[in-house]
Symmetry: C2
Subunit: 419 residues, 2 copies
Amino acid sequence: MGIVVQKFGGTSVGDVARIHKVADRIAETARQGHQCVIVVSAMGKSTDELVHLANEISSHPEPREMDMLLATGEQVSIALLTMALKERGLKARSMTGWQAGIQTDHVHGKARVTKVRTEAVLECLNQGEVVVVAGFQGISPENEITTLGRGGSDTTAVVLAAALGADCCEIYTDVTGVFTADPRVVPAARKMDEITYEEMLELAHLGAGVLHPRSVETALHHQVRLMVRSSFVDEPGTWVKGEKTMENELNVRGIAHDLDVARIKVLGLPNRENMLSQLFGLIGGANINVDIIVQSEHDQKEIDVAFSVQESEKDATIELLESAKDSLGYAQLISESGLAKVSAVGMGMMTKPGVAAKMFATLSEAGIRVKMVSTSEIKISCVVNREVALEAVRRLHTAFGLDQTEAKEPVLQGVAKES
Amino acid sequence: MGIVVQKFGGTSVGDVARIHKVADRIAETARQGHQCVIVVSAMGKSTDELVHLANEISSHPEPREMDMLLATGEQVSIALLTMALKERGLKARSMTGWQAGIQTDHVHGKARVTKVRTEAVLECLNQGEVVVVAGFQGISPENEITTLGRGGSDTTAVVLAAALGADCCEIYTDVTGVFTADPRVVPAARKMDEITYEEMLELAHLGAGVLHPRSVETALHHQVRLMVRSSFVDEPGTWVKGEKTMENELNVRGIAHDLDVARIKVLGLPNRENMLSQLFGLIGGANINVDIIVQSEHDQKEIDVAFSVQESEKDATIELLESAKDSLGYAQLISESGLAKVSAVGMGMMTKPGVAAKMFATLSEAGIRVKMVSTSEIKISCVVNREVALEAVRRLHTAFGLDQTEAKEPVLQGVAKES
């Protein structure tokens, strides 16, 4: 049997009792003869506590020092989990990111993995040891400790699985799999048995929150078979892989939502060829992620551009644009908070006619106004007012035939996010 | 101006407010033009909390994993202190033990420093940065994170000062210096302006607790000038250095005590040549530190050996000796708890007649029975019952003329220990 990478998030190792449970599960996998590489996040709220400490010291703590600080959270987890494994008579060894050969660029706070040197991990595996690796962290060419930012631990698990040629990468979390919609919002939501990388990527981007898009992108790129499953309930989860073998007659596979959306409109921009690249170059340079972009042309001389950002980045974006008013040369800036994005996702969806029409009709019947629209090969997203967003999710879930025939209680309530 | 190494213990960086205070002090030193290398311990009780977590997971956590766990404590401190320094506009950079080139052997939990690779620290100093190094930790030849055990942060500071050729190494702690006795016990105790390494070594070994003996030994070996001073009160502390220039007419310089003593007697051991080496080889092999050893010969065939250990190591020592009863061949084992050691320390003391006599007379007048005696060039130690130990300290302090002429309140109450 081959190598299995298992990743446990912060909730799964949130306290001593849960660490023991996770250790039991790993012991079971190891006793089946698999070579186990375990990736863990920091315990429960410990990262939040460290961030709080840093903010008490400094209003703008330097990213390098934040990485130095935050990397301790996962280091605590790996040591404790390894102790728990050894209590069970397993051979085990913890490794920090740098010890496990996770090499990154030098962008503190959101480093990208550039290479995985697998020698140390392989040597331990060959000695029959379970290797417990600190997620979320790596080392830069300058020997600096870096962290990978949001979704970092998932990414660590996927790059390790890719580099080690693992059979699969299991992402253990506090939900039992990927659902057709957030079961807290849509009680009739169903757990999917499998889903393609591309669909998962849209769902991840769209706020389903089970997996971070970065880890899915990486899994797609290296064709790592992922399984999303529960740390607490022993039942099969959802496979995320290249091709789905079932349910491919369905067009829309899931309804996702993201309640953290703000819109910014830049009106009366000069209609220059390089205008959009100048505008979004400026915003991207400040590391602000823009989601939906809508451009409209007045006439030969002027254009309007509207785009959505996370609510928390709205003020910084406005500030940035105001400071660049002269160079951009726009006439007016309008921002709007309290929005949400609702999306229908499904492979090959756009080749079937009528999906967009059905979506707009459903929302319209409910009296929900669509403020922005964005489409891709496999999804349609609508920005709506936040207070009607969940109602929109429920109506779309029903309209696209995703409701369970017999509505049963979802096993777990939450689609929570683990780093 | 040259390099100054400053070490701040766990109490000194115990919370955010204290970290800011420490940062102020460092900023002052840096602005005077010194190149600053700062060594810090884990915050306050954080190491205890980590140990507690580990003990919840496992009754015998593996030393390697304990090191992985405990090393996070100092890593948190260096990140926070560096943020505080940057808040003050200083250029600063934190470094873990391995980043600062602290190389050790591979004895987890009590590693010894084998080499300091100063390149990284020097490079930062040359760029005008304050370098903040995690105390208590290093890296083994196998790239494993190690910790240095008790007194580890002091040792980190001293080896860095030695390797960097620093002008001095300042140990900031919660007392204002080295006193002639514990000021909590002897209100008339005086702070010494200076003291030799050898005297400090005896005082450190004898439980004065301000500096760990390892760090003093290392300072002596490399002739690093140490200053013990307060983190909280801005006044000169006590120099620990090669030669003292004052007070050298005094014989006894201080009275130390250690309240954590147990005695074990091994009776009726065969009088073999290799008996003592066998006995203490066994005990040393189990990493139990023996302090005073008294041997008495019955006749040609049998010897008795009594020795003192820390109270906490008594049970393990007894267990060990019982398991080796056959190979050692002794007749009986007796142990006694609740003891203490009281010591008079002073350079050249033993060349003056009458010091020992005065010590015994003083104790005898107070009705205090001496259970064991040990002498060296610069100290006399007596093991007595714990309940009379502090009375013994006060009487000896007076008898050897150490009391202040005008008894003034000591500035700080405690002679506490910082790792």
